[in-house]
């Protein structure tokens, strides 16, 4: 359990984190989202006691991080995969960490095995690819077998196999009852991984809720219906006071229905003896929902449609 209360961090005049409160519960993967410069990394550093809050508090299972005994056994974190001495081997890096928290050397070999770095454990970390550094960072986070895990952009630099692996590892850790907080810019990835979201913008909390709820609230679900008896179904739905829109999807005429459930549409169709060729719920994407809610909080905007405008001039 991570509890953040009224957390504020100022650097001179800029307010990086502004009266932020949220809590991260165990047993699920919680996504930590926000545009660039929203204060995610600063918040994570304050959770770990690395940066000192201007005001407010962070508690790990009820205690400030600095008061934890053997903290690596309580909280494991990967904030930046490049935080390794380039001339030190992966094994030596993990060994000194293990020693500070009285963890056995055996544990170092275990986590190296877990992340698939056993074969290169004695090579200097400076020669690692970003994907390998990322794996080493994950090994460091797992070292103390902690109940709370925090990852900042963990899939950065990983290839598809690595991305799948890290998604599974996070879900596995959560299912073991651990608290998992993950920040990422890759929303399609987060939509698959996180059950719960903490969304911030300009250092302030925008929303904390379940991922599904977040998406549904921002962009309501619609129902896509295909049938050879379009007119009949349209009439029946109209009679029930249900709104229907015509669209062409994949070159096929389609009815798009909003403001009701697919169950209800199915029952109306069956009552009228209408044959259905498709009856599917179309959810909005996490990306749509996120961009809608954080719109004002984005640091700078690229010009939309700039291609059509500018590119044309030289042709």
């Amino acid at each position: 359990m991570i509890e953040v209360e009224h957390l504020t961090k100022r650097y001179g005049r800029t307010v990086a984190v502004d009266d932020l409160s949220f809590s991260v519960r165990p047993g699920r993967v919680t996504g930590f989202l926000g545009p660039n410069g929203a204060g995610k990394s600063t918040t994570m550093r304050m959770i770990l006691g690395l940066d000192r809050p201007t005001s407010g508090t962070v508690r790990i299972d009820g205690k400030p991080y600095r008061e934890l005994d053997r903290p690596l056994t309580r909280v494991g974190a990967l904030l930046d995969a490049k935080w390794v001495h380039p001339n030190r081997s992966a094994r030596a890096h993990l060994r000194w960490m293990a020693r500070t928290n009285r963890l056995p050397n055996r544990r170092v070999d275990e986590v190296l095995e877990t992340v698939g770095l056993s074969g290169v454990a004695d090579r200097r970390a400076g020669g690692f690819s970003l994907g390998m550094s990322q794996r080493l960072g994950i090994a460091a986070a797992l070292l103390g077998d902690p109940e709370i895990l925090m990852f900042d952009e963990p899939v950065n630099g990983l290839d598809p196999e690595g991305i799948l692996w890290i998604r599974q590892i996070m879900q596995r850790l959560a299912s073991e009852g651990r608290t998992v907080l993950v920040s990422s810019h890759l929303l399609s990835e987060m939509a698959q991984t996180a059950e719960e979201l903490v969304v911030i913008g300009r250092g302030k909390l925008i929303r904390q809720c379940g991922t599904a709820q977040f998406v549904d609230e921002a962009s309501g679900a619609t129902i896509r219906v295909r049938t050879p008896q379009v007119e009949r179904l349209r009439g029946a739905l109209h009679q029930e006071g249900i709104e229907v829109r015509d669209e062409v999807v994949d070159e096929l005429p389609t009815l798009v229905v909003a403001g009701t459930s697919s169950e209800r549409v199915g029952e109306i169709a069956a009552a009228q003896g209408v044959v259905l060729h498709e009856l599917s719920v179309q959810r909005g994407s996490l990306e749509q929902a996120f961009l809608q809610l954080t719109n004002e909080a984005v640091e700078y905007h690229a010009h939309d449609g700039a291609t059509t405008g500018n590119e044309g001039t030289d042709r």
Binding site: R45, D51, P71
Partner: protein
């Protein structure tokens, strides 16, 4: 967290990269080399004093300063200081463990360098009858160890305060080499202030009346105590600052 574990962790850090090995090796080899050169250029029939043989300790000290400062600044440079503070959030205990280890290694290096210098010199210059008979001779040889210890403490403290290798090393090399010797140039008060310069005091401890101070206020033993006090004071300031600052 037990001190033994923290020191053991720091020793993994110190000895798992190559540059501390080189620094320490050179810190032992250079003074011995200097002693060799001094003895070989000395007339074979005139006795050379132990103090003269130990003059090269300054080269070793420079390398010890480099080694100790880098042990801190590379941690900032590569972000491992954050990992260290994440593992030991009290910060001071980890930094004290690092200081203890680095200073201990420095002391050992000093001892080897001084005894090595003495040994080489007595083999190459049998006429001198070099030994550890007098108090002056004991200080000149065994005293190198505590001087290296407290030099390392100063370097760790400066590393913690400056956090950047280039800045910390420039300060640590320029200060004892240029600033302290030049203080005496200041009219009237210069010579008096100079003996309160820490590295001048350390030199006074090692070399007694042969040091650059004309009219010392402190006895050699008190000069060492003063040097130690400066280093510990600096470290205390550095620890407080490191605790408060964002990592």
């Amino acid at each position: 967290m037990s001190a033994v574990n923290l020191i053991s962790a720091e020793s993994i850090k110190l000895f798992s990269t190559r540059s501390p090995w080189w620094c320490n090796l050179l810190a032992m080899v250079l003074p011995v080399g200097f002693a060799t050169a001094a003895v070989l250029s000395w007339p074979t029939d005139v006795p050379i004093s132990v103090t003269e043989v130990q003059m090269g300790y300054q080269f070793g000290m420079m390398l010890v300063l480099v080694m100790a400062a880098l042990a801190v600044t590379t941690e900032y440079r590569f972000g491992t200081m954050r990992t260290t503070f994440q593992a030991v959030p009290g910060r001071s205990s980890a930094l004290l463990a690092k200081t203890a280890l680095v200073a201990g290694v420095a002391g050992l290096v000093g001892l080897v360098a001084a005894l090595g210098s003495l040994g080489v010199a007595s083999v190459l210059h049998p006429v001198s009858d070099l030994g550890l008979g007098t108090a002056d001779e004991l200080r000149a040889v065994l005293g190198v160890a505590p001087v290296f210890v407290f030099s390392a403490v100063i370097a760790v403290a400066v590393g913690l305060l400056v956090r950047q290798s280039a800045g910390a090393l420039a300060l640590l090399l320029v200060w004892p080499m240029l600033v302290e010797p030049l203080v005496s140039v200041i009219p009237t008060v210069g010579e008096h202030i100079q003996q309160w310069m820490p590295f001048v005091a350390a030199d006074h401890f090692l070399r007694g009346e042969r040091s650059m101070i004309a009219d010392p206020v402190l006895s050699p033993a008190m000069a060492l105590a003063y040097f130690a006090a400066v280093s510990v004071g600096l470290l205390a300031v550095a620890l407080v600052v490191a605790r408060r600052r964002d990592a």
